[in-house]
């Protein structure tokens, strides 16, 4: 076992997960590839969504991959930062909206 949980070199080994349960891995990677094709959303828009999600779930592999991917797709630094702010807003909002529960509880237990 390595001394750290995350190693940048592991990103390139993602495909190796097919060594165990290959049919499941094959299905996943086929689906993954199709998801990121041009469709109702462009490849660049999907890349920016992926970058935002990567920050929301705090996946270092995904941040690494989708920062480079965004640059390759021609996204500007401003667009990539706005995508991260969207993730931050949703995460922050998700905490704050629970404050309504706290406020209701305050009302419930107060005279």
């Amino acid at each position: 076992m390595k001394k750290t949980y995350y190693d940048p070199a592991d990103l390139a080994k993602f495909g190796d997960i097919a060594e165990y349960q290959k049919p499941l891995a094959d299905s996943f990677f086929k689906y993954y590839g199709e998801v990121f094709q041009d469709g109702a959303l462009s490849k660049r828009e999907k890349s920016l969504i992926a970058l935002a999600v990567a920050h929301a779930i705090q996946c270092p592999y995904c941040i690494d991959a989708y920062t480079t991917d965004g640059l390759e797709k021609g996204a500007s630094e401003e667009q990539m930062m706005e995508a991260v702010h969207v993730a931050a807003a949703i995460r922050g909002g998700a905490s704050l909206v629970h404050a309504t529960q706290m406020m209701s509880k305050v009302d419930e237990v107060s005279m």
Partner: protein, 346 residues
């Protein structure tokens, strides 16, 4: 910033660069092996349609990614004698295009004389203009008019439509001066709807990643440059950074060499290999030496024919029968949608 040569950097040596390029990440096949794995025995030449001349390595800029290692301190320059050898070949053979590059080709003292002579002999002349030469010195201010007089196709690097990314790659202030130069070119009719004066821009990534889709990036550039600066142009040519010279130095110094080479190799595209520019382009060095491409010129890999290694000994038949010289840097032209001096190829 000075050239690698001026710094005495060992990467100024083409032999050292080739040694570095021999070392690929573990398990990565050489370019020759990859061609073989795709049952491509070799990349064979076609009739030469484009003659690309390097008029010298002197340049007013010192860009971080420059594959020529060009800059103000470089003194290699094409003489009028070599230019006369080229003109002799242009009189005796027909080419579609004469492609003039550098350094900044306009800094060659015989540049205008040569263009005047050559424009009578070849139907299409490209000048790879770095834009900032146009406003670098009063003696260059009339270049847009000169280009127009000789119906030159101006091809100019602009790595991004924003200042920060452009200046990081090409130097502080380059973006603003490039915008000024583009407006001057538009002012004489270049790149506008109501003229045939062709103005193309070149995009290359600002780091260790591949370029995106050419058509999509062209749309972005056209929209942003029009809306922000009222600038128009014809085509955007998307080029991959080849791992040589200053870009190789960047890859090694930043620890990106292995990742970038792996990316290029994994993106190998047989269709791009079929469309590489070395098949119908011949590169002529400042001293008249012949190469399969500008990159091979910088790596000092001459054409593989003993009878026609200099423009003064130009032999179309011998060149048609030559074997194109390849090495691992060629992965740069075969990755993804392919790359050439004319943009994406596949």
């Amino acid at each position: 910033m000075t050239s690698l040569k001026k710094q005495g950097n060992q990467l100024a040596s083409s032999a050292f660069q080739l040694e570095v390029l021999k070392t690929l990440p573990s398990g990565t096949p050489s370019f020759a092996t990859t061609l073989s794995n795709h049952e491509i025995s070799s990349i064979s030449p076609l009739e030469t349609k484009i003659l690309q001349l390097n008029l010298g390595y002197m340049c007013n800029q010192t860009c971080k990614h420059c594959h020529v290692d060009a800059g103000p301190d470089r003194k290699e320059i094409m003489t009028r004698e070599v230019m006369n050898d080229v003109l002799s070949v242009l009189r005796e053979h027909s080419f579609q295009t004469l492609d003039l590059t550098g350094g900044a080709p306009e800094m060659n003292p015989d540049f205008r004389w040569f263009v005047e002579q050559a424009s009578q002999l070849v139907p299409h002349i490209i000048v790879r203009c770095n834009l900032t030469i146009i406003n670098a010195n009063p003696k260059y201010y009339d270049l847009p008019e000169f280009f127009k007089q000789h119906n030159i196709n101006v091809v100019s690097s602009l790595p991004f439509y924003q200042k920060k990314r452009t200046d990081r790659q090409r130097g502080n202030g380059v973006f603003d001066r490039s915008i000024d130069a583009l407006q001057r070119l538009n002012g004489v009719g270049y790149g506008t709807n109501d003229s045939n004066l062709q103005l193309d821009l070149v995009y290359n990534p600002m780091g260790a990643f591949l370029p995106g889709d050419q058509a999509t990036l062209e749309q972005d550039f056209k929209k942003e440059l029009q809306e922000t600066f009222d600038i128009s142009f014809n085509n955007l040519l998307v080029i991959t950074n080849l791992p040589i010279s200053r870009f190789l130095e960047f890859l090694l110094a930043s620890g990106n060499y292995d990742t970038y080479m792996t990316k290029l190799v994994q993106a190998f595209n047989p269709a791009a290999a079929a469309g590489v520019m070395c098949r119908d382009t011949l590169s002529v060095g400042w001293d008249g030496a012949l190469y399969d491409c500008d990159f091979n010129q910088m790596l000092e890999l001459p054409v593989a024919t003993t009878s026609s290694r200099n423009i003064r000994d130009f032999d179309a038949e011998a060149l048609l029968n030559r074997r194109i010289v390849t090495a691992n840097h060629c992965y740069g032209c075969t990755a993804g949608a392919g790359s050439s001096c004319g943009g994406q190829t596949a």
